[in-house]
Each structure stands twice: as C-alpha cells, then as structure tokens.
C-alpha cells in the first residue's frame, strides 16, 4: 500500500504548519522537505507550484496540491480517520466561513499591526481588535472551535493563536491578551498544550529570533526607502 506523501514547507511558516498539523492529526506519515524560501526555491517547488511558487505544497503519489486551505480539505477527504470538518453541510459551511474570516481578515490584519510603522499602527490595531472580538464570538463557550477536539478552524487559527502571539511578544504589543480576550486567550493556551500540537509547533526559542530578524530587516529596508 506504498503511499508517497511529501510536504514542501518552511519551518517558520504558519501556512506550512497547517498542512503538517493536519497530516499529524490523521496519523499520516510524510517526508518533510524544508524549502529555502528566502534564498533559493528548489526546482521541484517551482515545478509543483508554478503559479504561486509558494509553500506549502503537498505531494501525494506524485500529484501536487497547493494553497494551505485546499490542502487541508484534500487531507480531510483523502484520509477519513479523525475527521476535522463536521459532516453536516450547514456546520461545514459555518466552519468554512470562520476559516475564510481568519485567513482573509483576522490573520493578515494582526500581522500588519505588528509590522506597521508607529503612525499607522493605531488604526490597524483597532481593526485587528475588532476581528479578534468577532473570532472570540465564534468560540461560543467551546473549548476548541471544533468543539471538544481540534477542528479545521483550530488548525487555521493556529496562525493567530501561536504565530501572532510570538510576533506580538517581540513587538511589545499585547493584542491577544488574557484580560482583553479571555476566551480566545484560553483557547490559544489549550491549543498549544495539546500533545500533537506541542510536538509539532516550531519552538518559540527558535521562532522568536527569526521573526525578530525579519522585522528588523523590514524596518531597515523601509528606513532606506
């Protein structure tokens, strides 16, 4: 039953992480290839994702699947154990709604809030807080967005619950705080404490200096401009 599963990713990428977590939740073994996305992308990556040229790429028996959300849906449909999307079409539509919200609004705005120059930061931060408030309402008293166990919304929200929290620590921002968003904060703690999540997240002590370096370079490049 030889099944070839490969992930082309980047260790610090929140998008790449989604694909890996999904495979781990399903208990699917895969080969991980770390791409040098800031330096030289491999020929294989460019072959498998010619349009966007990005990670993650999932390769299943030689066939490439790209874009993290497309990958997550594919993994769910291909490996039926430990489902992370609801079966009911309406509940599924609701999950997809929150996934889109996180991906298109919540995460990008939070990321921007960390990177924005001082004079623009307040406006973006206010917007980000509104989005966090809305995201918190989606939890609705549940432990995870998926209910008692991690669902696809949780997988996608890892970009907010973990990667953004690390970034804001560097920037001295306190957006996702326990007192402002107690439910969401608790969710991010519970999520990061799941054993499967804990062992697969890029370690904080490696991620912190990396993001610091990225931000410093960005600020440097923009100071020159």
């Amino acid at each position: 039953m030889g099944e070839e599963v490969k992930v082309f990713g980047y260790w610090a990428s929140p998008y790449s992480y989604r694909a890996e977590l999904a495979l781990k939740l399903k208990g699917v073994s895969y080969e991980y290839i770390n791409e040098d996305i800031f330096g030289n992308k491999s020929d294989l990556l460019l072959k498998y994702n010619p349009i966007h040229k990005k990670v993650p790429v999932l390769l299943h028996n030689g066939k490439p699947i790209v874009e993290s959300l497309v990958i997550l849906e594919y993994i769910e449909e291909t490996w039926k154990q430990n489902p992370y999307l609801p079966q009911d079409p309406y509940d599924k539509a609701t999950a997809r709604f929150w996934i889109k919200f996180i991906d298109e609004k919540c995460f990008p705005t939070l990321w921007l809030a960390a990177w924005s120059p001082e004079n623009e930061r307040e406006k973006v931060t206010n917007e980000a807080c509104e989005y966090l408030k809305t995201l918190e309402s989606a939890l609705n008293g549940k432990k995870f967005f998926g209910g008692e166990t991690i669902g696809m919304v949780d997988i996608v929200a890892s970009s907010v619950g973990y990667f953004i929290r690390v970034t804001q620590e560097i920037m001295g921002l306190n957006l996702l705080s326990a007192d402002k968003f107690p439910q969401l904060f608790q969710w991010s703690e519970d999520f990061a404490n799941c054993s499967i999540v804990k062992e697969s997240l890029p370690p904080r002590d490696k991620l912190l200096p990396f993001v610091k370096g990225l931000i410093a370079k960005y600020q440097q490049d923009n100071a020159k401009a």
């Binding site: 349009i51 699947i65 874009e67 497309v70 849906e73 594919y74 889109k100």
Partner: protein
Amino acid sequence: MAGELVLLDFWPSPFGMRSRIALAEKGIPYEYREEDLRNKSDLLLQMNPVHKKIPVLIHNGKPVCESVIQVQYIDEVWHDKAPLIPSDPYQRAVARFWVDFIDKKIYELGSKIWKTKGEEQANAKKEFIECLKLLEGELGDKTYFGGESLGYVDVALVPFYSWFYAYEKCGDFSIEAECPKMIAWVKRCMQKESVAKSLPDQEKVYEFILHLKKVFGIE
C-alpha cells in the same frame, strides 16, 4: 417550498451570480431579494453581521455567507442533481485551486481596470490577460472546466463575463482578441439557461460602472 430558500443579492454582483447559477443548474426554486447596498436591509445585517455583504443564502432561516461557501453548500445539500464539484479528492483540489485563483486575481484586477488610469491600469490589464490565459490553459480542449458539464470553476468564473464589456470600454482593449478560447468557452456557457438567466446584460453593467465612477469621482 420557495419560502425555504432566500437569496439576498445585488444584480451586478458576480458573487451573487455564482449562487444564482448553482441553484438554477439544480432546478432549485428560491426567492430572490434585491438589496440596496446604500441602504442595507435589517435582514441582511442580521444574517451577515460580520461582513454585512451580499450574497447571503438563507436556508430554513439559517444564513450561509460567502459565494464559494454557498456554492459548495448547495452542491452538498442537493448532491443528486447536476453535481458541480468533482467527487475525486484530487480533482476537487484542482477545482478549489482555480476557484481560489479566480477569487484572488480576477475581481481585483478587473476593479483596477475600471478604477485606475495610466500605468496602474496598463499593469492591471496586462496581468488580467495573463490570468485569463492561465485559465485558458487549464480549460484546454474541454467543453467546460468541469468537463462535459458545468462545474465549480465554470460557475465561479463565468459571472465575470457580465463585466467584460465594462472592462473593455474602460481599459480600451478587447478581451476576445487576446483570449479567444476564453470567449468561446463563455459563449458555450451562455447557451445554458442557468447561466444566461443569471447574468445581467453587459451594457447595463457598463452603465452601472459609469455611475459608480461618477459617484466615486473617478474619471
């Protein structure tokens, strides 16, 4: 049974058109309600409090927002009639990829074509054509993106055809000259009643764009 399904929509919205086509393809009756976007109804604000946007599909009183989510929902609930999304996971992933591509590129680039001038407009036109050519490549020799019948990618893309005339007039170019295969595909789609009845007249859309330009003070 029409009371069960309501579509809150706005006539020129390509996103609304997607759901109209999906419902028509499956022969599902529904109530169409036109929203005045300058004066949104209480129902719209209640059913889509997060984005306050159309289209919203209300099924048995419960809202489904976002056009791609609606089309998937419609396909899943009424799965026995005219399936739009492939059943094979890999084919589904390919279809989802292209719908994502259309969502990321076509609307935004099209908007730039009618909203901007000079270099910004020229760049938008160039990229717009490049994207259509990539889509032509994906279509290949198939009748539709979905193969022999209309599929998810067809439903996601064809609504933008109603805006092509407006793009061409504002951008002073011919989409057919650059992408004849795309227009040939459009014409095949337009022969289907579900598509022809869901798309507004191109001239009407162009008038609407001209009106918007005036309102926004765009020359």
